[in-house]
Symmetry: C2
Subunit: 473 residues, 2 copies
Amino acid sequence: MTHAALLAELAACIGDAHVLTGAAAEPYLTDWRQAFTGRALAVLRPANSSEVAQVVRLCAAAGVAIVPQGGNTGQVAAATPDTSASAVVLSLLRMNRVRAVDLDNDTITVEAGCVLQTVQEAATNAGRLFPLSLGAQGSCTIGGNLSTNAGGTQVLRYGNARELALGLEVVTPQGEIWHGLRGLRKDNTGYDLRDLYIGSEGTLGIITAAVLKLFPLPRAQCTALVAVSGLAQAVQLLQRARAGFGAGLTAFEVMSLACMSDVTRAFPQQRLPFADLPEDAWCALLEVSDHSDGPHAATRLEAVLAGALESGVALDAVVAVSGAQSAAFWHLRESITLALARAKACVKHDISLPVSLIPEFVRATDQALATAFPGVALRVFGHLGDGNLHYNLLPPTGASNADIQRLVHDRVHEAGGSISAEQGIGQCRVEDLQRYKSALELDLMRRIKLALDPQGLMNPGKVLPASGSLRVP
Amino acid sequence: MTHAALLAELAACIGDAHVLTGAAAEPYLTDWRQAFTGRALAVLRPANSSEVAQVVRLCAAAGVAIVPQGGNTGQVAAATPDTSASAVVLSLLRMNRVRAVDLDNDTITVEAGCVLQTVQEAATNAGRLFPLSLGAQGSCTIGGNLSTNAGGTQVLRYGNARELALGLEVVTPQGEIWHGLRGLRKDNTGYDLRDLYIGSEGTLGIITAAVLKLFPLPRAQCTALVAVSGLAQAVQLLQRARAGFGAGLTAFEVMSLACMSDVTRAFPQQRLPFADLPEDAWCALLEVSDHSDGPHAATRLEAVLAGALESGVALDAVVAVSGAQSAAFWHLRESITLALARAKACVKHDISLPVSLIPEFVRATDQALATAFPGVALRVFGHLGDGNLHYNLLPPTGASNADIQRLVHDRVHEAGGSISAEQGIGQCRVEDLQRYKSALELDLMRRIKLALDPQGLMNPGKVLPASGSLRVP
């Protein structure tokens, strides 16, 4: 089939207006970070799962590859096609319905193109919490969140996107619809297909809908900003907080004082509520959620912090006395990325490690970087409760970003950590994956890819190298 | 290779004393429920992962199938070989070391043959909680728990075995060791092999070790027994409890009054703390875990129960005033299975449904059973918080168990439920799976099985039919 004939069939299937080419297609062809621009035969915007299935069957018959795309907010260009113009981009944005809310089952059923914030709001309107929360929530879609197993700030308590999904609807590479939209908390009938699709970045099939868990809304939340002298003390504070609050500890973030200083310099209206901290101090942001009431939450938080201050684990601590102050603490944390954007250059790493290894990892890696790249400046922050650091740095002039990343990732790998804690592989980290994963694990992944997508048409070149090198040796 | 030659090589690998045949092998060849007795070439007891890998390589070279076995406490005979005497049973019982406890990371690394209770105790000794808890915990192994994705009484708060595992070590069907023992809470580097192995009942590989999550020990627990007039009221009570306690609600069990009466009749020293309940009443058992203190837990529990009583959701309620009374409430729940064992016959179903559908499902299915099998007596209890019912019944004389199960499972399937919520498929439910799973889902499972175990030697005939019918059509 010629490409023109295929496009005509696609237009007959989903409507002319939803087969975009030329200028109309362009916004879909560049990734959010504007690091990659691809080309495509067309951008397709099907309206429902049945149309997605038909589109996939037409493309499969024509041997045309498909790049699924949600809100196009990913960090690793997983939703951006290559430059061959041989693939179509399949946008899920028109599939944005909340299909159902089941209060007694505490579930919500949504289509893949639902914006995360829409899901959060639908939950809140129903008197429930959908806890997935991240910077891009106003534009990222739940399908993309599931495809990349998104993380965010509430993982400590509620888990990654994976832990929040009970069931999926998926269009297979053969254009069949897997009706796995089960609202069940227990189901031991066969292999866990759900978790195989989650996090596979559209390379095994296209997630078109999901049943998600809802939670009761906490009655009260209480936030504190705590200064500690180092990461070892931050880990001790984390342990105290876990023991003191259990699942009531819903966030535990850390930021180096260097990050905080960047924020207050860039945004002078923001202030750190501590006087005179040592230069190598860290700040921890704790959020406690409580199902009793506000005073109970505050009393508990104050008790844990008092213990931490008395024992010397904490240098100073401020409990937010209002929602506005709590928002201001969170705003400090959320402004780091914007403040860092003002730097000439910033080399970023999204790493995770066992929490117990983090203080020594950071100490030794800071030192190794300072030796290898004199003048480097560290800007580290992250979700300490999840062992996930945004290990960022401002490189000295002339340093090679690739060399810096190699040094950091080699050390992460040696420590048993992950070089992509929450952002995925996409096309940015395919080579890294080949370097750091064992030959056995890569082989297992290839076997699964070949078994489910033998034509290699689902998001080729993402996660694993494109299909030419896919054959099992 | 002859079988004798293989056995000699196996003995050279793991030691003569650990290649069991004849009478020594017998205890491994009958399932826990004594419903299935198989035969085996030998029972092998390797000491470590490296020996497991060698054993698998020897068997793979000889084309001999392997049936992995943990504590042999499963409900579906997944660890029992067929009667052909052509396979070996590979027992993990000698691999019973706790390899490491990492307090700052809140993880424990254990070998597959560790008895669940040993893992619980190692956690408690370290000042942490490992929450997986089920009847067989004194003899089941963590490897078996993970292979069947075990549930139990704490799933409501902590999830199934799947949610408790961070990393795995697995010996593949080719006898290689996948070193996936990662203690990471976030890791988005490729396909989720971990969750593919979990719940696959040894058909894709042999889990030899795991990194498990630990939790802070709650400061206090408080238990209540509540009488409600029906399952709809039990669901309302569940919602009140979820809203009131959040993650503090660590168990929510229901038992029909018929079950409770069987218990108090069979064990007269046990008493239900309610006078004169209507015959169709139900009891709910609530457990609240608290990180503040005992009085706070009791006050919260009493407040929620007072609301339930005032609004008519609850008929009566008793909060345990001591650990002994709390244990007595749990003992009522845990004695149901023993009490039912005294019946002439009992047809059991391990089903799950969306919680919202349970009251109507039970009402309509009770009625359908009464019509189809006059004289049937229902004995239903289960984990309402997880939507998981042990929908059991005492059949009238002459009724066909298969017909009864068909009626119940057909209705579960129609309601979007699961015919095996926590027990798995094993060999008992292979035919059911073929009946109720879609052709597409079975095909996806077959593709994965073939991709990872092309020889079909890993626990053949479990989950999916034996390899003859495995080829993708």
